[in-house]
Amino acid sequence: MLYFYKGLVYVVGRWNNIVTFDVCYSKDEKVIPNVVSSWGTVYAHRAYLVKSLEGEPWLVKKFIGYPNLVDGDDDRIIHGSGTKRFEMYKLELDLQSGKLIQMLKLDSLGDNVLFLGDSDSLSLSASYFSNCLQKDSIYYTDDF
């Protein structure tokens, strides 16, 4: 059977772990993916992959806050205190080998406005939607 879709799938995790696999060449029931980036030491509550307006793959990490418990504090109930911040990286990938060339940290979203949640991650143009979207912003599901 011939499939139109030819390409790689990238999957990203909470520990900066990224793997890739090719859906075209799998015949077995179980697939071992190729490691693009191995487990790091910094935990992000969520990591998202989104194609920027220029078509570049971006990795966005969402960090949540935890309360600072001081010794002797009566209030011991621990609640996360919501989304604290995001970090954005541009992934430079060699699509032939699937390998990561480098990961560049971004200071600004440029014209990108991001939508992140349980569905497809999406980037839209801030200038095109200047009437309804806020520039340099991330719209996200506050799932914590």
């Binding site: 059977m1 999957v11 995790g13 179980k30 793959p57 349980d118 569905s119 309804c132 979207l133």
Partner: protein, 198 residues
């Protein structure tokens, strides 16, 4: 001079269509008449539409109806009167204009692809095998974290691929259109939260 709105030329109709940034407005546009519908259809077959339209938010209805959900539009900051037959008490993820309904019963997890705008179309996927599911929990459906499609099954009914992030370990698996079994990615790779097709 009387304007024959129904038989407007493609050029002005496309200009009008381009100005609409909300999907709901595309629907209103396409029910005007056959000519307007054709313009909307052609625009939807064009890939450009993806970046020129705002995503809408599926929200509970005012009365928290169990069988329906409402739609919120960002540009107009309004809740549309239009309601979709999307159960409020079921787990859903979305991708490529489709919804993935997740159901858990009799120790089996089933994902069904639905298009909320096409009532009669649904694509049931084979059961997905979960090694680590905690059956005591009521919300086992939430063990399917993401369901991402490579492309819209309406446009390429035989060519799409579905990738899911599932189980408490956050592993991933995929299935191609028409396949009878999921292909599971090695269980030793886990803790994933998102997927992209490049």
């Amino acid at each position: 001079m009387e304007v024959d709105w129904r038989n407007l030329e493609a050029l002005p109709l496309n200009l009008i269509f381009d100005k609409l940034v909300e999907r709901m407005d595309h629907i209103y546009f396409s029910v005007v008449c056959k000519n307007w519908y054709t313009i909307a259809k052609v625009n939807y077959q064009n890939h450009q539409i993806k970046i020129n339209v705002l995503p809408m938010l599926l929200i509970p209805t005012k009365r928290k109806c169990r069988t329906k959900r409402g739609l919120y539009g960002i540009s107009s900051n309004t809740i549309y009167h239009f309601q979709l037959q999307v159960p409020y008490n079921k787990r859903f993820c979305g991708s490529s204009g489709w919804l993935a309904k997740v159901e858990y019963s009799k120790a089996t997890t089933i994902i069904t692809l639905l298009n909320p705008f096409k009532k009669l179309v649904s694509i049931p996927l084979p059961p997905i095998y979960m090694l680590d599911i905690d059956r005591r929990r009521e919300n086992c459906e939430c063990n399917v974290h993401k369901v991402i499609l490579s492309t819209n099954p309406t446009i390429r009914p035989h060519d799409y691929v579905v990738v899911t992030i599932y189980s408490m370990r956050n592993c991933h698996a995929f299935i191609k259109a028409g396949q009878k079994n999921w292909t599971y990615i090695d269980y030793n790779y886990y803790c994933f939260t998102d997927v992209i097709f490049l």
